[in-house]
Symmetry: C2
Subunit: 492 residues, 2 copies
């Protein structure tokens, strides 16, 4: 056997930059940029950008390392020409999402209401009906056969959401009981379990989580709902799921990524693009973060990327077992966003909002994503969880055909003839690994939840999954970044 000799250089290097590039002589480092800052931030999504912005406003020096050649993370504008964009990821904001709203306002991005004039469409088993979201079920369809199940489940989950300490669900008095079951277990035990209701539930979790009702822990779900509010308004399913009065109520002029781009413009060359962080070494008085484009020496680090990606960084010393255990059980959802662009929003002429709840896969929930002036018509559908896995396996031409067929069943045959068709499979995005967020199955939060936000030495954790409120949303990302920045500022 050939063992690597432990030379004096390696021993010396172990506490310094020499250890960053294992196996590479320290001399090689000189050719790589080494930067110094008070804080190094990993990730330039809304979490990392918000953290960096807060730190800079407090007079601290910051370097932001971003793996992609763009900022915005799960927010991405596709330019369609003529100033029209399609949001390929995060799209909406709503009441109590005050942090993303404030950030947008501060960088000068205005908002406008999601188009919501007319009726929503409900489709199941090929049967189509329309309904107003001003009714008691909001955006959920008032399907008489399953209305009892819907009302019971929503009522109970809203009640349970008031019983969890939001953001720390492992402290709930019933944490063990609720974390021992899945959302599906709970619903089957507490409703009539009408199969059509289960399909509706699947549409909800596929769009909101990118997972199936049997994938997510009940405790996780209840906290997700509890998080759909703020310090002054208890989270509810309605505020999460509705357009009117809920998280799909409002959109950004120019698209959500514009907010990120404008924050990035403020931060200027503090951001290093195309430079994934590979290794974080904790030193007695600082951290060294080695990335493809730069080595950064800083007093503290904020890691603001999805859990599964944060697990792929090499940490020296290793992370505590509880955090590794959490990261080993915290997968990203599976979500593909399919979008069709038309000459005009033809559904509006028919008195339709463009919002639909569709129980016939692959489409689940759909929304109008047209520009504010309605100059072209854009509608998108969420294909999530198991539906996305089947969908993603089909060849591109088939995917396009079934998606357009779905739009046409919901809104009319015009749906078959878009000027463009776009698809974003977030599961395949190397530097996101799945949308809309990471979730946990049964047993994880009660065992390992406390590691979610707990700093490890000089490393602090941000990212929408770590947010107390609106975890999984742009607002949660901003909150998490601002919170991590405050944590760091207290310790600098």
């Amino acid at each position: 056997m050939v063992d690597r000799p432990i030379t004096r250089r390696r021993l010396l290097g172990a506490a310094g930059a020499g250890a960053l590039l294992a196996g590479v002589p320290a001399g090689a480092l000189a050719r790589r940029t080494v930067r110094h800052a008070d804080v190094v931030v990993v990730g330039a999504g809304f979490a990392g950008l918000s953290a960096a912005r807060e730190l800079v406003r407090s007079g601290r020096s910051v370097v932001v390392l971003e793996a992609r050649h763009r900022v915005g993370g799960r927010a991405l504008n596709a330019e369609l020409g003529g100033g029209v964009i399609s949001e390929r990821g995060a799209t909406f904001i709503g009441p109590t999402q005050n942090r993303i709203r404030r950030l947008a306002k501060e960088v000068g991005v205005g908002t406008f209401p999601t188009y919501d004039e007319g009726d929503d469409v409900y489709l199941h088993d090929g049967k189509r009906s329309t309904y107003s979201d001003r009714g008691p079920t909001g955006t959920a369809p008032p399907d008489l056969e399953i209305l009892g199940d819907i009302a019971t489940a929503v009522y109970k989950i809203d009640q349970m959401a008031r019983q969890v300490p939001v953001g720390s669900p492992w402290k709930a008095s019933k944490a063990a009981e609720w974390d021992a079951q899945t959302l599906k277990d709970f619903v089957l035990a507490n409703t009539d379990g009408n199969p059509r209701f289960i399909r509706l539930l699947e549409v909800v979790t596929r769009a909101a989580v990118g997972a199936e009702p049997q994938d997510v822990s009940l405790l996780w779900t209840v906290n997700f709902i509890a998080a759909s509010g703020d310090e002054h308004h208890a989270g509810t399913f309605e505020r999460n799921f509705n357009t009117r009065g809920g998280a799909q109520q409002t959109r950004f002029r120019g698209g959500s990524q514009r907010v990120a781009k404008l924050v990035a413009r403020e931060l200027g060359d503090r951001i290093v693009l195309g430079s994934p962080a590979r290794r974080i070494t904790q030193l007695p008085h600082g951290v060294l973060v080695s990335s493809d484009g730069a080595v950064v020496h800083a007093k503290r680090a904020i890691v603001a990327i999805p859990p599964v990606l944060s697990a792929e960084i090499v940490y020296e010393p290793a992370l505590p077992a509880s955090r590794e255990d959490l990261l080993a059980r915290f997968p990203q959802g599976t979500l593909t966003k399919v979008t069709a662009v038309y000459d005009r929003p033809f559904w509006r002429d028919k008195g339709l909002t463009g919002t639909a709840v569709c129980l016939d896969p692959p489409l689940g929930a759909t929304f109008d994503d047209s520009p504010e002036d309605g100059s072209v018509g854009i509608v998108f559908g969420f294909v999530g969880g198991a539906a996305a896995r089947s969908f993603n396996r089909r060849p591109p031409s088939e995917r396009r055909a079934v998606a357009l067929e779905g739009f046409s069943k919901l809104f009319g045959s015009e749906g078959l003839h878009p000027t463009r068709y776009l698809e974003s499979n977030w599961r395949k995005q190397k530097w996101t690994r799945g949308c809309p967020l990471a979730y946990t199955g049964p047993g994880t939060l009660t065992k390992f939840g406390p590691a979610l936000r707990k700093p490890v030495g000089r490393i602090h954790w941000a990212g929408t999954e770590t947010s107390v409120f609106w975890s999984g949303y742009m607002d949660g990302a901003v909150r998490s970044g601002e919170r991590a920045a405050r944590e760091v500022l207290r310790r600098l």
Copy 2:
């Protein structure tokens, strides 16, 4: 923002060694050892060693990259002096574990029977009794109050094990139904669910999986039992759990790691120690594996490490989503092995085997681990799952005290006065991350199981978790390595 310019060097380097050390000028590579071989094997546990040995026997050139400064993976001898060793990890083999048996024989390591003269001990709620493992329950205690539950659960699980295509449980006709529930769900629905029986079940899963009955998918469990056999003998719970006629029947002279060390001696300087693989790049006609100590260029790669560690390697191109999805839901068990060494195996004088089933934590199952000649007495206990997490949080002196108190309650007050006390927390081992194996919760195998062994381009997957038979055991590791070697040989 500062973006990394895409220079000609980077473009050229992207398909070659230049991309291996992202950000490091290609010139630096010249100072690092570059080796060439037909096959590069990542990991020198039993899986990697067996793969390498098969390839060498077929005349192929091999380089084995091992992160640790030793071989053997989850098999580790601690030298106690005077030629006495204590096995800190894998210990036993049993009937139908023919591959590890053959390997040991070929390298000249003999076996001897696990000490099994006399009675086993059963302890619950401070009440101690003894029983012979020649009775109908084998190593399981014949506790009359829960005998019905034990018999029912074992009978049903053995029956179900015959209904899964072993190694490919996702193809079972009831795969969806069984993968939608945990082992605990199944047991509560199919037995009287006596709380003491549930505690016994916990002792079993904590020792065998390092997890709780509610952590593991029923489908995973049924396959684990189906795997407790070979091509000619259907797997059963009894063959898995028993000492007599089961997987704890036999031990290796000189300890299990001796087998690995002797295989490594055969392989000689093909093995590079202290050299964790960091990046695997697939080229048009080969693979490049970058490790801390060497860059290896080979025709094919075999990755023979635990799933969670294989997820931390950087793959270029990225792994298929289904494999990433599997790895994101495939945690290692949590297991600490506590061992006490005494002047003599005092329990034998009392007619005891040293085997115990203990429902009062932290100890679960215990076994006699003395050398063949009984010149000193060694007994160890498994502390697994939730019991291990509580245990590991206590200070070292407390851990020692409660472990010895446990041994004394089982075997007598002599247990309080060992000559040595040893502890191995495998969860904290950076290059294993948990023992005895990786498991899956509900919903993972049916969705992502097919990615378990499926080669990705020129990368083949070994490791005990990938084995059809005796997955989680030394035998499974050997089988997986030999199978991966055959896969590669067919394609070279």
